[in-house]
């Protein structure tokens, strides 16, 4: 992979395409979670391909190609939501940072709809990076360029939101 990245950085569009197409399905799925429809998700994939192709020379660590790509995909998704005026900023309380470690390994009967409908885009980013891409909290903080404490806060609140939703669902069933 390192060789392919180096070739792509030297200008080989074939090398870049080979690399990109390894992760395009992941990128599509991540985009879909944000934009909730196929057309917009494909637009995000195209825009991600364009932006990453233009800026691949700036990638300093070839080993982090996938993470770098995903960050671009998340930014493209958020930009599209902003353009469509569907993006609302997180309330101020999220700026309060958690410093303690938290247990995020909690069993939840989660659906795709829960992911798409109940979470704010920033919450989605962290859930996806934590549980779909298997990044550590530190890596998530670096990827999203957020303080570690903020990442923990957002994750904690996202999980709390989902738990609350599940509990409401269980109560309705009863």
């Amino acid at each position: 992979m390192k060789d392919l990245v180096k070739k792509a950085q030297k200008g080989s569009d074939q090398a870049f395409l080979t690399l990109f197409q390894r992760y395009e399905e992941d990128i599509y799925r991540i985009a879909f979670i944000y934009v909730k429809n196929q057309n917009d998700a494909l637009d995000v994939v195209q825009e991600t391909a364009y932006r990453s192709f233009k800026t691949i020379k700036k990638l300093k660590q070839p080993n982090y190609f996938k993470t770098w790509l995903i960050r671009i995909a998340i930014n493209c998704s958020l930009d599209l939501l902003k353009k469509q005026r569907k993006l609302i900023h997180l309330p101020k309380e999220y700026e309060d940072q958690l410093t303690e470690e938290l247990n995020d390994d909690i069993e939840l009967d989660l659906s795709l709809q829960d992911l798409m409908e109940y979470l704010h885009p920033d919450e989605k980013s962290i859930i996806i990076l934590r549980f779909y891409e298997d990044l550590t909290m530190k890596e998530i903080a670096e990827t999203l360029e957020m303080p570690l404490g903020t990442v923990k806060t957002i994750l904690y609140r996202a999980l709390a939101k989902l738990r609350k939703k599940m509990k409401r669902g269980d109560d309705d069933e009863k």
């Binding site: 599509y28 364009y50 192709f53 549980f131």
Partner: protein
Amino acid sequence: MKNKIKQEMEKIEIPKNLHKRSMQGVNQGKGKALFYIFFIILIPFSFYFYANFFDRYFPWNTRDFTLIAILLYVLAVIPLMAFLAEKIAVFALRRGLNKGKNFIIFLVILIAIPIAITINDHREKDLDDVINFNTNKFEELYVNHYIWWTDKREHAEEIKEFFSQYRVKKMKDREWDKYDLSQEKKHFNITIYSNGKITYASVYENRLYIMGTRDGYYKVLNGPINIEWIENLVEEEFMKAEWSE
């Protein structure tokens, strides 16, 4: 939790045209680079032709008019060049002209065409090639602002033959501006209507100015032009016309 999220996300169906869209994104990146290259090439050439166009057809050299000309260039010509650059970039990408040797050849051709036009414009020519009109479709001509006019084809052919003996070359505007025309004692002007087009020439012994298909300022290389010949022709024909009335 991890497995559950992965399972849920794997449920998202992948569309068939995903691969195609990825490639479009990459091509978009390549296209933009090409766009900027072509735009940078088109700008100086557009400026050259635009400046010449304004000098020829709008010779009023006032500050206000120059400002209007500059504004028009910025607001109309530059966006037009951007539009053209985009079209050329798309064409080049479709034809695979953006790859290696093909791109260099395409770029050389693109740069060579306007250079060739400019060189052709400034090479030596025969005067009848510059004051160019079709004698088969000749309508009428006027000499010295309607002092004499004719609609006879033989006159047109005679004058064209007269012009053909002289060689001329285009000169720069500043050369004409610096030149003292009062040194040239003899002069005539001629307006020719042929095939629906008008050609006007102001002819001195060693210089001339043309408005028509090859307009501009020219110097005569094998002058001086025999202005007396035209004067004699005009006088003869004028006298003939007088006597025939």
